[in-house]
């Protein structure tokens, strides 16, 4: 929980010595609250104050890094139960778990399949961000050699070991890549702690229910491991979602011990539809890592898309640049549509135009990231704005005709737009889904 500047001030020396570069201790305290300064900039702070302040400064859910280098992911660090309260910040690592009992060709094919799980949606590339290796063989050497092969993907790894010694064998191949070691249980946690500590890697803990997992996390932390992930997916999906929901509330609202860590689940449900639906439930309900044995693009893409959706910052509408776009092999005679710069609106229009196979220009008007109806109501999609765009150099250089297609929802502006611009105004469909038909029929007839 964040402290107020006055609370921090009370713990400072109150000498206004300026050694920290601030004119007063209160000014320094204010900098601390906004993380613009760190406590070690004060040379005279007491050990006691340090202890109190570092405890208070700890986030309610620890941010844990898995992996190293460019592909490293950070999970946890969340501050709200519901995305509309602020935002969710750290999307879960979503990935495939591979067994360690495959022959060389199978393994190579599975690794290639994982590599192919990358998609472009609304102008962003989304793909799997983590990969698991599971020690189903029960053999240390097989586990280590599979991990070595999978490490070539250069994705953060989760080493799902049968026992700590097997994780240790695999770490000989990849400790520098900082994989997540999975998973300490009540029976063998000291061994796992020893291995995780010496490799300086994060450690997952698991158990039959939330209480046992949280209690284990407390023990593991006392033994010196800070980067802990709670595997709450050992039971049914109902129990898993319930535990993750409870853990989030306990960490944020109740300050309960042992729950302030990111959560994870390995989804083992054999029916692929149920498996995908479980993965989606975990993405929605607070998981920091979701692993599945599935690797079909039609199975993984929806899970990644859901994460992309829910981890979008609800306070900032996603926008595209306001300019003239073209889809397909356009000519100066190609139709010209106008729409708003709200990313979802633009990409919906763009994908329908693409599907129509009619080469088309799309003029994007800056409406501050609002959709057609909202923009029109707020006068952000006005006939003056559209007219100015139509008369701009980029349009006159690209298009030889003088016909513009406006969204059906703003049919009311056709008269004034015609007056303001001198262009012929065609009223397009209300919904982007009807655009393809419109371009193929109505436009062709004009």
């Amino acid at each position: 929980m964040a402290l107020k500047a006055l609370d921090i001030f009370k713990l400072l020396p109150k000498t206004n010595c300026k050694k920290c570069g601030c004119p007063t201790c209160l000014a320094f305290a204010m900098k601390l609250t906004t993380q613009k300064a760190t406590l070690d900039e004060c040379p005279d702070v007491s050990e006691d104050a340090k202890a109190q302040l570092s405890g208070a400064a700890a986030p309610p859910i620890r941010l844990v890094a898995i992996g190293a280098g460019a592909a490293k992911i950070e999970i946890g660090g969340e501050t709200v139960m519901f995305r509309h309260e602020e935002s969710f910040y750290h999307p879960p690592g979503i990935g495939v778990v591979l067994p360690d009992n495959l022959d060389e060709d199978d393994l190579r094919a599975r690794i290639a399949a994982v590599k192919a799980l990358s998609f472009v949606r609304v102008g962003m590339r989304i793909g799997v961000t983590v990969v698991g290796v599971e020690n189903v063989s029960g053999d240390a050497a097989a586990f280590a050699s599979t991990v070595k092969a999978v490490a070539s993907l250069e994705l953060p790894m989760v080493l799902i070991a049968r026992q700590a010694a097997h994780a240790e064998a695999a770490l000989a191949e990849c400790a520098a890549a900082r994989p997540l070691i999975h998973a300490a249980t009540d029976a063998d946690w000291q061994e796992y702690v020893r291995v995780a500590k010496s490799a300086k890697c994060p450690l997952a803990v698991t158990g039959p229910d939330l209480d046992s997992v949280a209690a284990l996390a407390v023990q593991v932390r006392k033994a010196g491991i800070e980067d802990i992930v709670l595997d709450l997916g050992a039971g049914s999906i109902a129990a898993g979602v319930e535990a993750m929901t409870a853990a989030r509330r306990l960490a944020l609202k109740r300050k309960a011990d042992g729950v302030g860590f990111p959560c994870m689940a390995v989804v083992r449900e054999p029916d692929p539809y149920q498996n995908v639906s479980d993965c989606c439930a975990y993405v929605a309900k607070y998981a920091g890592i979701v692993l599945t044995p599935l690797s079909g693009p039609e199975q993984i893409a929806p899970i990644l898309t859901l994460s992309q959706n829910l981890y979008t910052d609800p306070r900032k509408p996603v926008q595209v640049e306001a300019k003239l776009y073209s889809v397909g092999a356009v000519t100066p005679q190609s139709p010209l549509l106008v729409t708003t710069n709200f990313s979802l609106t633009y990409y919906t229009v763009q994908s329908e135009v693409e599907a129509s196979r009619v080469p088309t220009y799309i003029g994007v008007i800056d409406t501050e990231g609002t959709s057609v109806l909202t923009a029109f109501a707020a006068d952000k999609l006005s006939s003056e704005k559209v007219a100015a765009f139509l008369m701009s150099a980029e349009v006159s250089e690209a298009v030889s005709h003088r016909k513009v297609i406006i969204p059906g929802y703003v049919a009311a502006m056709s008269g004034s737009l015609n007056e303001d611009s001198g262009w012929e105004v065609l009223v397009g469909p209300r919904e982007a889904s009807a655009l393809s038909k419109y371009l193929k029929t109505v436009w062709q007839d004009t």
Partner: protein, 322 residues
Amino acid sequence: MTLLDTAKERWSGTISTLTIGADAAAGGTRKSVVTVGGAGGLPFAPFDGAPPHSIAVAMEVWDCPPEDWPRSLADALGDVVASPAEWAKACVEKWGADLICLRLASTHPDQGDASPQEAAATVRSVLEAVDVPLIIWGCDLPDKDNLVLSVCSQAAAGERCLLGTVTEDNYKTLVASCLADGHCLIGLSPIDINIAKQVNVLVTDMGFPLDRLVMYQTTGALGYGLEYTYSIQERGRLAALGNDRLMGVPVICMVGQEAWRAKEARATSEELPGWGDEGERGVYWEIATATALLQAGSDILVMRHPKAAQALKTTIDRLTTV
């Protein structure tokens, strides 16, 4: 005390309990009825208090064969789309739908402009073909819906159907019909929590009981605005739990309708290489849309693909059995 006990939140409000369908005892002819709502906590957080009723899975049936549904969806439905009664029967008997959502698409002037009497005959035929409750959905043109749905309401009098939709600008005719004929109502509002509440205020001001109302806050498909629907539904649920009675109304989602508009569900393998099996892609898109919206608090989900509807029923069972 376990951590789940510690996590428990004491909410002051609940979602109203809604029953769709009337059996013989209630003056109708349905063999099964659907009861949803009643929740007093967050979705799938039974430590807050387990909800008393489950979540219903409806399937869409059109009164005319849909034209541009993608192949993977059309093939799965097969020939039954030629007859609303046969289609409804297959949904219930083969695919396990809890209720049918009859879309009166052909009453739209662009889709054949069927008369209110023709629509009412279709309603009767579906009521005779199946014994589950019925959702009757107009063509979303206010003037035509007022004509069509009031006649359909009479034709189904006493069956306690769920009729829709009404909006803040168009509700009086349908509210009067549903009051007279004992039906339930769907209030539509476009991803706006204030308008959603306003619709509920207007409808209940006419004397319509709150426990016969359902909210349709419009549905965004996965990848196409799902996050807006998700947050609006979460906000609505929180408002209801905070004892805002007028927001404590069950929620319906048009999952199939929206999911099958997505390029990721519709496109052929040639159009969308690298996105996986064309026959299965849309099914997964529909399932993922549905399971995400379940988590935001949905009470009735309307599905299109038989496999997606069946999978969703299994998902709901698994999510409600700890």
